[in-house]
């Protein structure tokens, strides 16, 4: 026992170390390192994928938001345009209606005036005719009774006038 034995490899330990390490290597590779490293790698990959997916989802969400904004903007413009058009149309309709109404009213007033005039003429003509007839009748009666008595004449006029209704 001494320094010499310390640095001389013993054949037994060399033999057992070789066998032990080789066995350990094979068993560990098959039953430990492959599943462990595989699982770690798989998990790292899934984490990376999840991060990427989150990133792309975020980007998509941003796009969607921008799109929505754009759509909303377009809609707002469209609404404004439609409203403006409607306003114009409405104004036109109102103006047209007003003009039409005015013209109609004018027509009605005019025709009423014409009717009134013609009625008036007819009435005047009738009055004139009636006055004529009456005058003739009165004159006739007067002429018939006048020749008798004065008093009698007066009564007769009164009598005839009583029959006549001035209307």
């Amino acid at each position: 026992m001494g320094a010499n034995s310390l640095i001389t490899p013993a054949i037994g330990l060399v033999f057992w170390s070789t066998i032990a390490f080789t066995l350990l290597l094979f068993i560990l590779v098959k039953f430990a390192w492959k599943p462990i490293l595989g699982a770690i790698k798989e998990r790292e990959k899934s984490i990376e994928d999840a991060l990427n997916a989150a990133e792309s989802a975020k980007a998509q969400l941003g796009n969607l938001k921008a799109e929505n904004e754009k759509l909303l903007d377009e809609t707002r413009k469209e609404r404004e345009r439609i409203l403006k058009e409607a306003q114009v149309v409405a104004n036109n309709v109102i103006n047209e209606a007003r003009e039409k109404a005015n013209a109609e009213a004018q027509n009605i007033v005019e025709s009423a005036k014409a009717t009134i005039n013609s009625e008036k003429q007819a009435a005047i003509t009738q009055i004139k005719n009636t006055i004529g007839t009456l005058s003739v009748e009165i004159a006739e009666s007067i002429v018939r009774k006048n020749l008798n008595a004065d008093e009698a004449q007066q009564n007769l006029v009164k009598e005839y006038l009583k029959d006549v209704k001035l209307n």
């Binding site: 310390l6 390490f21 560990l28 462990i36």
Partner: protein
């Protein structure tokens, strides 16, 4: 002593520390007493012998006690003899070297034969081998358990997984990846095995009755040879071209070949010596410090020796990790050099 005890009464922590120290004292007192007895009867305390007994291999697992009071676990002795073939028996048959077993005897942990015409080779399950088997059981049970957990749990690591996963990722991302540029994933399992095998055995060696396996030249020799083989069977055409057709004038080739051969051998040789020397040195320092108590035959040496030995022991914990790391790191580096692809910077290299 009693006045000292009274003086510190009231402070529980101090009392505990003191009791602890006292027990260390009484132990060293007893031990030195035993040593003195033996010194008068048989021999003087020889630190060199003690140290070499501790760092060397042995054919039984010594637990405690000295000489005839020793308590140890007998280990199987396996011999290959040119006369008797395979011979197997328990080391307890030697009765600690006091008796022969058949033609075989044991002297200073070396097994010999009385038959001068017999040649024997010792393949015994020594303390180091037994410790190595123990480490394999520990490593396998840890990592096969973890592998099962990975199969069951696809989410974040839990419990024992979360302790070992950073280490596994450390070997993969900090050792294999930066050193092996081409297809590093192929070598990760090998590097992981080397790392944990050396580390666990370093730690087992630090236990009070543990074996000094990683401080044994035979073990580091095997590890270095395995690295040598793995490195060279994976060497690509650039690696071999650099060795057999280095960019020097052709007439220098006969000089370059031996130089390159030395280069191939010296790299793993350095690995072998580094691990062996670092671990053995650590053990020698710790035992030397403890031996101071017995050399001076003075229990008060414990005041100096025990804290120092504790400090060195804690340092050895770091060294245990560091040496496993360095061995794995350099192995990765050698593999990296042998498998490096040169397509982009061929004109620049050498």
């Amino acid at each position: 002593m009693i006045s000292l005890y009274n003086a510190v009464k009231g402070n529980k922590l101090v009392i505990r520390l003191f009791v602890l120290l006292l027990s260390v004292f009484s132990f060293s007192l007893k031990a030195s007493g035993v040593a003195t007895e033996h010194a008068t009867q048989e021999e003087k305390f020889d630190p060199t012998k003690v140290i070499f007994e501790h760092i060397g291999d042995s054919h039984d697992w010594h637990l405690w006690g000295e000489h005839e009071h020793a308590v140890s676990i007998p280990l199987p002795i396996i011999l290959y003899s040119n006369k008797n073939g395979l011979v197997m028996f328990l080391s307890s048959n030697f009765h600690h070297g006091h008796q022969d077993f058949g033609p075989y005897f044991i002297e200073n942990e070396h097994i010999g034969t009385r038959d001068s015409s017999e040649v024997i080779y010792d393949f015994s399950i020594t303390k180091n081998v037994a410790s190595m088997f123990l480490s394999i059981i520990i490593i396998l049970s840890i990592f096969i358990t973890i592998a099962g957990k990975y199969k069951a749990n696809k989410g974040a690591p839990k419990g024992i997984q979360s302790f070992f996963e950073p280490l596994i990722c450390f070997v993969r991302d900090e050792i294999a990846k930066p050193n092996i540029s081409h297809n590093h994933e192929k070598f990760v399992p090998f590097l992981l095995t080397i790392f944990f095998f050396i580390w666990v055995n370093n730690l087992l060696g630090l236990l009070p009755i543990g074996a000094n396996l990683t401080g044994n030249i035979a073990f580091t020799f095997v590890m270095a040879v395995i690295t040598l083989i793995i490195t060279n069977i994976n060497g690509n055409k650039y690696y071999w071209k650099h060795i057999f057709m280095p960019p020097v004038p052709v007439w220098l080739y006969p000089i370059m070949w031996p130089v390159e051969l030395v280069g191939i051998i010296s790299k793993p040789f350095a690995l072998m010596v580094r691990l062996f020397a670092n671990i053995t040195a650590g053990h020698i320092v710790v035992i030397s410090l403890i031996s101071l108590i017995f050399i001076f035959k003075n229990m008060f040496m414990g005041f100096a020796a025990v804290p120092l030995a504790l400090f060195i022991d804690i340092l050895e914990l770091l060294v245990a990790f560091l040496q496993a790391f360095v061995f794995t790191m350099l192995t990765a580096l050698f593999i990296g050099t042998a498998t490096e692809e040169h397509e982009h910077h061929e004109e620049h290299s050498h």
